[in-house]
Amino acid sequence: MTARERIAGSVANYVDERTGAAKWMKKNLTKVFPDHWSFLLGEIVLYSFIILLLSGTYLTFWFDPSQREVIYDGSYEPLQGIEMSAAYASTLDISFEVRGGLLMRQIHHWSALIFVAGMVVHLMRVYFTGAFRKPREFNWIIGVGLLTLGIVEGFLGYSLPDDLLSGTGIRIAEAIIQALPVVGSYLAFFAFGGAFPGEAFIPRIYTVHVLLLPGAFLALITVHLMLVWYQKHTQYPGPGRTEKNVVGYPLLPVYMAKAGGFFFIVFGVTAFLGAVASINPVWLFGPYTPAQVTAGSQPDWYMGWLDGLVRMAPPLESYIFGYTISWNILIPALIVPGILFTGLALYPFIESWITGDKREHHLLDRPRNAPNRTALGVMSITFMLVALINGGNDIIATTFDLTINQIMWFSRIGIFVLPPLAFVITKRLCLSLQRADRELVLHGRETGRLVMMPHGEFVEVHEPISPEKAWLLTQHEQVPPLALEEHDASGVRRPKALTNKLRARMSRAHAVAIPKATAEDLKQIENH
């Protein structure tokens, strides 16, 4: 035993005697994780969160969350002598007087955009591979909660500097609160401590932005990761991988090294963006005053779809018992997002109700093998993209020489037509891919080698695929649809006949598949 080993051993022993950590560490540090690039998407989010905490803390040292009026006398000449809130003035000071302040602000903002974008792609991975199925439904809900909080947290951060753009955003948020029937105006007064803009809102959202929501994030992320740990990570199908094992590398040393390195890469990419590309140049926007608004007022991308929905809503209003109901805000800004996010959160339960599948799943689906789910996912993405495009309609109009009206009508019609179209196309694509898989297993790979037979016929040589590949293409199970008869054995109509009928129909749609190649099929061909 060398001296170094002796010292390390006694230190470890000292710690273990007092914490009893050795047993736990030994078990958990060798925990195996499967290896796939798409399993690192969630890590992008986690590391962005850490970057946000660090850079955000730096910003709090100088940010003054107050709507007290001050006269700017800093070094940015075009604003000297202008009245503004202390929040805006301190943001300018962070940008121009504090060493590294502008870089830190830009890192913070770029990181926020990547944070939410990372959540979205992570969610897509989990969705399209069916990783949300039992036993991971709770973790899915936590994930949806984190996404929602992420959007809110981002919006609050966008609102804090009290520049012209953030003030416009707050004004729209106020309008959305006011659109709630009956209680809207009261809620808005409550939130703003009086009439808009007041002096209370920025200090309030500051507390929520730096204390409440980061705390909630920490708690939820912890539970999210603990559940991943406890339930073990899902894995893609492959030879030797089953519902009962995990094939991969141990946490120590492989994943510690990979994950640690990846953190620095995420930090590096974010810092690179912060260093070379301007984001939220608040000094150009000027201080917020309710009398001003600028062309190209847009939210950050994760709110862009919401803005796009509001922009495409026709001007509908009703007056009922002296109350105004602004359907043009209420529907696109509250009802539709409410339905979307509730549906998203409940999707694991909906799918399990449709399929009747209550078993545990640790092996992931290839998206093509769940055509209905994949098509529904692409349909949702299409909906969001149409809404997002309309959110940037003015920029798109000037950039591509279009008219705002054309884009608005494209979105108004497209939001109804394109998602179902995307559903049909995706489902067909999935089934075609299944067909191609079947072909590949049965007839092998096309080699491109043409051979002339003695009698003059040309044939292309097919090469059998590897057993590993064949396994991958045939390992999935094809569950038949639920058998839900309208009448029971004695011919009596079952209760809830309508619900059953709907469920049976959806189950049939969900179970549509090209029969996968079986051993019998292969044998038949070989005998052939």
Binding site: V276, S278, I279, T294, G296
Partner: protein, 267 residues
């Protein structure tokens, strides 16, 4: 002597000779022009003025009357020009907006068709039809002396930014119309745009925005034009749309690329 000539002929084929000669030629032409041009400027006589108006009328008849009418009275496709003033003509023609290239939503800025002298003549002709806003003289446009950047910014955000964007980059209006960028526009044309209200733009009379305030706006625009890209690439100064695009493409693109690389099996 022989040697000198040889040396000269060596220089003749030097690769810097052509650019240097070109610059010299341009300089001499420019100087000649400015000397010749200076001679003709100065207060003009009534006779010169009526000659100018007559010249403008001839240009108008050839280039403008097919849409605006033989007497500038307007027609179904173009407005009357009686009373629009010299400032309006100077803005529309000297920025290349008129004559229009096609009957699209709005006349766009392009290389002007008429030279300075012709624009002056056209303006004089239209101004002779009825009184209207005049072309602001150089002495009125001393924005460097009479304007204030901060006040100009405040005025710009209150009166202009809603269409022209917070940084003067322009923005979309309804049905394909748009507020053009105000970057790279001469102070005189900015001033004329404010007093004449071309196309979709409202008129900002001297009662709404005083002449000094107009100079402040011009000074702010010129400051915005010259402002360095603080904080890195400005991404067009059009707000969060380009930022979101970059975050998804470059930011997330790089990170997903690295993730793929990290998960690759060592070979």
């Amino acid at each position: 002597m022989e040697d000198n000539l040889k040396r000269l002929s060596r220089f003749r084929r030097h690769r810097a000779v052509a650019p240097v000669l070109l610059v010299l030629a341009l300089l001499s032409i420019g100087t000649t022009f400015s000397v010749a041009g200076a001679a003709t400027s100065g207060p003009i006589t009534a006779a010169e003025r009526s000659a100018l108006i007559e010249e403008g009328k001839q240009i108008f008849l050839k280039g403008c009357s097919s849409c605006h009418g033989l007497n500038a009275e307007g027609a179904a496709i173009a407005p009357s020009l009686i009373g629009v003033g010299a400032a309006s003509v100077d803005f529309q023609v000297a920025t290349g907006r008129m004559p229009m290239a096609d009957m699209s939503q709005q006349a766009m800025r392009k290389a002007p068709l008429y030279n300075e002298r012709e624009v002056e003549a056209l303006a004089a002709y239209v101004a002779s039809l009825a009184p209207g806003p005049e072309i602001p003289g150089e002495e009125l446009l001393n924005y460097e002396r009479d304007g204030s950047v901060a006040e100009g910014g405040e005025l710009f955000r209150t009166n202009c930014a809603m269409c022209h964007n917070y940084a003067g980059q322009g923005g979309a209006l309804t049905r394909g119309k748009y507020a053009p960028t105000v970057m790279g526009v001469t102070p005189r044309h900015i001033y004329e745009a404010m007093i004449t209200g071309p196309q979709s733009m409202p008129v900002f009379s001297d009662k709404t925005i005083t002449p000094e305030e107009k100079l402040s706006i011009i000074k702010w625009i010129k400051a915005a034009e010259a402002e360095p890209q603080l904080g890195g690439a400005a991404l067009g100064r059009v707000g969060p749309v380009t930022e979101g695009l970059l975050a998804w493409t470059l930011g997330l693109g790089l990170l997903v690329g690295v993730a793929v690389w990290l998960a690759m099996k060592a070979r």
